[in-house]
Symmetry: C2
Subunit: 313 residues, 2 copies
DNA sequence: CTCGCGGCATAAGCTGGGGTTATGGGCAGA
DNA sequence: TCTGCCCATAACCCCAGCTTATGCCGCGAG
């Protein structure tokens, strides 16, 4: 209940009810702002994003009104960013970058049929790595249409063997039968804690037994990362809580609930920001290879090879 | 209508003309999608974001049309995400997170006057760290209004000493006179190369002389990171190119132009994705402390103390 | 068996943000 | 002084997205 008067529920909702979209300019406006920053002119930016100068002018102005901050200094000779504008632009860039990754991924998800490069990938890789690769591929070979299918190792193998995919990516301890592979990266599981946790201040690495004896924030049994951890510890991992998404585990760890075990890929940013601290672990192998795979003998060619050369460098 | 000729410019524009906003759903739609994922129901999600059920239904449907992918499986008993939908949702979450950081920052930029906590911070900190802190603070103390002023160390000191700011953050080798400080984090400058670069495969760390002798991608002389590097090398850094923004340096490095020197904060994600590889450096100190500062004797209290406890943990 | 309820879809109508053309005014350099 | 680049304002238009009003479906309770 409690609807029908959803006029504004004054503040019993903790923080931002979810009106995020009303407080953050939309992508078009942010792109425009980046263009203004780069070109130093509203009109020029307008041309670049394909609208007219008055539209750009109005758009920027309404963005300033929305944020309550002057973003650009107009002059008859051009427009430069305010100090605050520069900061806002930097923040905006991160949104736009995330949107570009989204776009690259979504486009691959859509194409399906007539694409020149069909990729099958495991979830972790599809989630964290592929969008970046696709962006890089698009930069090199602008008109390579890519299609993406995400699934577990078995599904990837099946697609490859049935000829429905040109190249696959799996993370796992073993390579499915019938496939050749090349290691393209290493995904380490790492132990992280909030900076407030006692472990953040310890200097010596954690040993395997101590890790096995400590209740941890973990993904649910059966998940890929959990399997690797259990294997490394000999099935001994002791859950403090089990959560069903990487995001939830991250949130719990950041909140200080305890030590968590996560893929390094998932926490790059949190580590850089020191919202999480990595705890070295001694004596057990928490690394798993990320591999490109293809049907035995059918070494990737053409677009697939281009993609691989990006991932390996 | 004004379509003049926006009929579709058949592909002579290299890659993405910039119509990003037309290919990526807007923030409202993405928030709605996250709510659907969390609640398992269109109507429930609608309630959560404060719209009616038909609106949510239509919004999701049009998003599916836009992306060309089915995102949710509807049933008379609720809605669950498709496999593709789960992937899209993960990608969407990153956009929304960036937007939340933007919002937190922008809000602080606006408040100015009547805020209970006035922060002055250097650019690097304001850009990379503060939004995260503000989000955390908002989670803990939902109704603390924060205002932010970004500037160099001198400006931060001035604001503090004139009583216009309650707490400041600076990155630098020295603490401005009249201020007490506490180290809250360490910003390391790191050397990175694209994975394709020869250095990516070397095993031994780089020595100071070799680094000084190699042309590097650098920020322009006078920038904070450049100062630290020059100091560490004794003014010897040899530029391959000088660029005026961290982003440009990153882009050049990712593109393989050569080794770059960057703040660790700026490249967390790129490192995790292996778009850049970190090269260990031997024998020189590229670390600089990030410090919280306040007027001598006026140890932060109230909201300022809350913020500090977040940054130190 | 039949309500009642939660969940989704479709239909019709309204509104406002964002776009367009048209026009005007300032500042610089030829 | 004229010409070019820049920005602002005004008047108009359109569609995306919202709302209210219904209808259909499946399930569990009475």
């Amino acid at each position: 209940m409690g609807r029908t008067d959803d006029h504004d529920h004054p503040g019993h909702r903790s923080a931002s009810p979810g009106a995020l979209a009303h407080r953050v300019p939309d992508l078009g406006a942010l792109e425009l702002l980046l263009a203004v920053a780069r070109l130093g002119s509203l009109g020029g930016a307008a041309r670049e994003v394909g609208i007219t100068q008055p539209a750009a002018s109005s758009r920027i102005r309404s963005m300033e009104r929305q944020l309550g901050v002057a973003l650009v200094d107009r002059s008859p000779r051009g427009s430069r960013l305010t100090d605050a504008g520069a900061l806002v632009t930097d923040w905006a860039r991160r949104i736009v970058e995330a949107a570009e990754a989204f776009d690259a991924g979504a486009q691959a998800l859509r194409d399906r049929r007539d694409s020149r490069l069909r990729v099958a990938a495991s979830m972790t890789i599809a989630e964290y790595l592929l969008p970046g690769w696709l962006l890089a591929l698009r930069a090199d070979r602008p008109d390579t249409a890519v299609s993406l299918l995400a699934g577990n190792s078995a599904a990837v193998a099946e697609r490859l063997l049935s000829g429905e995919a040109d190249v696959g990516f799996v993370e796992g301890l073993t390579v499915p039968a019938g496939l050749d592979s090349a290691v393209i990266a290493h995904d380490r599981l790492i132990v992280v804690v909030a900076p407030s946790h006692a472990w953040a201040r310890r200097r010596r690495p954690i040993g395997a037994e101590e890790l096995a004896g400590t209740p941890l924030i973990l993904r649910e049994k059966g998940s890929g990362t959990r399997q690797v951890l259990d294997a490394a510890l000999g099935g001994l991992a002791r859950p403090l809580i089990e959560l069903s998404s990487t995001t939830a585990v991250k949130a719990a760890a950041v909140g200080g609930a305890g030590p968590a075990v996560l893929s390094e890929l998932a926490v790059g940013e949190e580590l850089a920001m020191r919202r999480l601290v990595r705890i070295p672990v001694d004596g057990i192998a928490l690394a798993r290879d990320l591999r490109a795979v293809w049907p035995t003998g059918h070494r990737p060619t053409g677009p697939a090879r281009d993609l691989l050369s990006l991932t390996r460098g």
